[in-house]
Symmetry: D2
Subunit: 253 residues, 4 copies
Amino acid sequence: MLSVDLNCDMGEGFGAWKMGSDAELMKYASSVNIACGYHAGDATTIRRTVETAIEKGVAIGAHPGYPDLEGFGRRPMSLSPQEVFDIVLYQVSALKGICEATGGELHHVKPHGALYNQSAKDKILAIEIARAIKRIDGNLILYGLSGSCLISAAKELGLKSVSEVFADRAYEPDGSLTPRSEPHALIKDHEKAFSQVLQMVTTSTVTTANGDKVPVNADTVCIHGDGDHAVELAKTIRDGLVGNHIQIRPYYM
Amino acid sequence: MLSVDLNCDMGEGFGAWKMGSDAELMKYASSVNIACGYHAGDATTIRRTVETAIEKGVAIGAHPGYPDLEGFGRRPMSLSPQEVFDIVLYQVSALKGICEATGGELHHVKPHGALYNQSAKDKILAIEIARAIKRIDGNLILYGLSGSCLISAAKELGLKSVSEVFADRAYEPDGSLTPRSEPHALIKDHEKAFSQVLQMVTTSTVTTANGDKVPVNADTVCIHGDGDHAVELAKTIRDGLVGNHIQIRPYYM
Amino acid sequence: MLSVDLNCDMGEGFGAWKMGSDAELMKYASSVNIACGYHAGDATTIRRTVETAIEKGVAIGAHPGYPDLEGFGRRPMSLSPQEVFDIVLYQVSALKGICEATGGELHHVKPHGALYNQSAKDKILAIEIARAIKRIDGNLILYGLSGSCLISAAKELGLKSVSEVFADRAYEPDGSLTPRSEPHALIKDHEKAFSQVLQMVTTSTVTTANGDKVPVNADTVCIHGDGDHAVELAKTIRDGLVGNHIQIRPYYM
Amino acid sequence: MLSVDLNCDMGEGFGAWKMGSDAELMKYASSVNIACGYHAGDATTIRRTVETAIEKGVAIGAHPGYPDLEGFGRRPMSLSPQEVFDIVLYQVSALKGICEATGGELHHVKPHGALYNQSAKDKILAIEIARAIKRIDGNLILYGLSGSCLISAAKELGLKSVSEVFADRAYEPDGSLTPRSEPHALIKDHEKAFSQVLQMVTTSTVTTANGDKVPVNADTVCIHGDGDHAVELAKTIRDGLVGNHIQIRPYYM
């Protein structure tokens, strides 16, 4: 039986500020990526989110980002490779400890925002991220964009990796995501988004704007946690996959 | 043979800003308390300080503080008991992970600044701190002011504790520290400070301003890391203790 | 004709995080208090909020708070009087400059959260706040709780002040607010809240839980910006006051 | 009589952390650039530095930077043009208000670190910075690297500008600074640094590594505030210039 993971970012509030519909989305996700305090997530929000994730039985990941609360970790930064190693080491360590103290277990690491995007294309950053993870625990799984430097860095260092695809983003002929600045970058129709997911999961291909089919590895599908229709899209994707006899579960479990 | 621990705060720089003479003081301390990022210490500074501590063979402690970089964790704050639990859980988790990833081991936890002072007198805060530590690792040792709520909280929860005394601070008849606002609060003469240490270590008493001798447990002596004469005082104390055939080593080792 | 000011906190988002229904509430308020970056409000959010306030023609106030994003400025802190002076000077200066650069004018200052509450009862803090405001511009108006130290500090320094009352909070016999920890602290019924406002505005009294009438100065009524029913309550109060021929406008205008 | 300005960054401590020898360097500088809280400088440090600058009679500038305390504003960031406008508007407003409340006057604005470097080459950023300054006060003077986009942006918007040169940095044939990554980027010999300054001030040229003379405008010379020999180099430059009958004073005064 075919299976796929649905992952979702969580715990991205900060103090009095809320973000996303964590409890609602946790019904549809099989794995969650929890903010670690650098781009979002204070100590209380993180601990609570970990507790909820354990209760719901989803796989827990650390979601380390750049030290940029004001920019929510979405602004590209220029950290040295050593600094990237250090901020990943710090954040993943914090989340792993909180998980274990709460009775859970850390399953994976997915870099956030600009750190994710920059390390998808920058081999040196990707290696530093993988190195930091391996130093903490060689059994942790690295989530990265399908075909990106993160996936190859994980392989190079002997870490397990999970290739991520996106339901609501168009793809380029080289397998990369169409930049958000392009007019057709976002797939707003939920049925089209689901069709893309189904094709990716069942055929390991995605169809680009010009009609080409390019290969992707759809180990996990990213479910966005923000946006007005996040919960509805998550439900559409999960129900559609289940209706097509595809099991929803974390890739390595 | 008598022994005592000399502990010192470390890793309290932040980014481009430096604090203290870590490398120099590491020669005299047998255990160090490393800032965890809330009152001081960025990811790179912390990792480097951990590496140096491992290299020097000193016992490594986490030094969690209030989330107040601007106030260096020295300003009393009003966090809820749950928030105190959460910030200790987060910070100690981060430091423990960095230690282990770097080839070391976390030995103890010593709260910093206002968190240390408030939990010395507030039983509820002290219990939350001890609870967070125990949830991470029941073998971690809690450093707290001799006779304080931190020590009794550790006992209540079955954690090992280490009672701390101060070389350069005067004591009150009830065994508490003379507040810094008082004229004779600080012992500036290095020989007097050493004499107080020697008395505390060898007799488990300290002499107050009015001549009374009150009991203290001198498991560890705090060596301040800042101040113009920090290194000199550390050397005076260490050399004096060694000259009196007292061994310098972490209390539980 | 009787008049009263309705004031509301605004601009309390931070980066990607939103807070409150600023645009909606701006329809009902006659003056707004804009976060200055310490407890909430980044540079972009502040500038945008100032622009909207100018467009809507409401009086603009600075809303300085403690440097505590994580606690949203609601946690009591222990700053020195000089530090309180300095953080008010910095924040009000920033907001005044942004106002003037955007074509507006700064009308008043209302301290936020724990700074407001602590300075209501602490004469020294209240004086520091008033001193900082006066040093910036002696024509700025200080908003403070009716009967509080902020109002007397403003008088002592020759600043204009505006006494604030609350629609949805019960009052104690001494004219202070019933602490939120008490069961009847919050008035959840909108009609009751409006009745309290009407009585305060028309008779300068408020009725306490035990039936006593105590004096208050209702120069301005605080409209809370958060909470599920904030907009609805604001509308009820404004419409009710207008229906009773009371003009809604800033006190000094 | 020839004259030149010597400018120095100041107020770059943060809370308990110190940076630079402000009081000492203030003897040699004729203008100072004071941190505004984003890359360094808390409210108390800023107010104190402004007071000292007023006392010493040096021209006061705002020194706005990126919101990156951990990176001291030295790490390139990717803010939108509007965000750059907003962070400059906020920071310069704060400093101007503090200056005026303290009895002084804001004279100029010099962007800090990565903001300075990026806007030297990026016309859009430079225009945003100049636009924010002009909106605050059209009489403020913009300090920027000689020949950079900041200087041309100031001209385009009708702002006065001051062209900056460096004593201890080598120059490239196109008039730009030799990147710090190059072996000969830094001029460590104080006499050589002074000679370069003297040539720049008296002939408006600088000699590159290959012996070419290229034009520069030396309205102001940057005196670095950090580094072991900062004070000594400042003294060498000031004494040398005075000995050559060149007056030290702010360019527009």
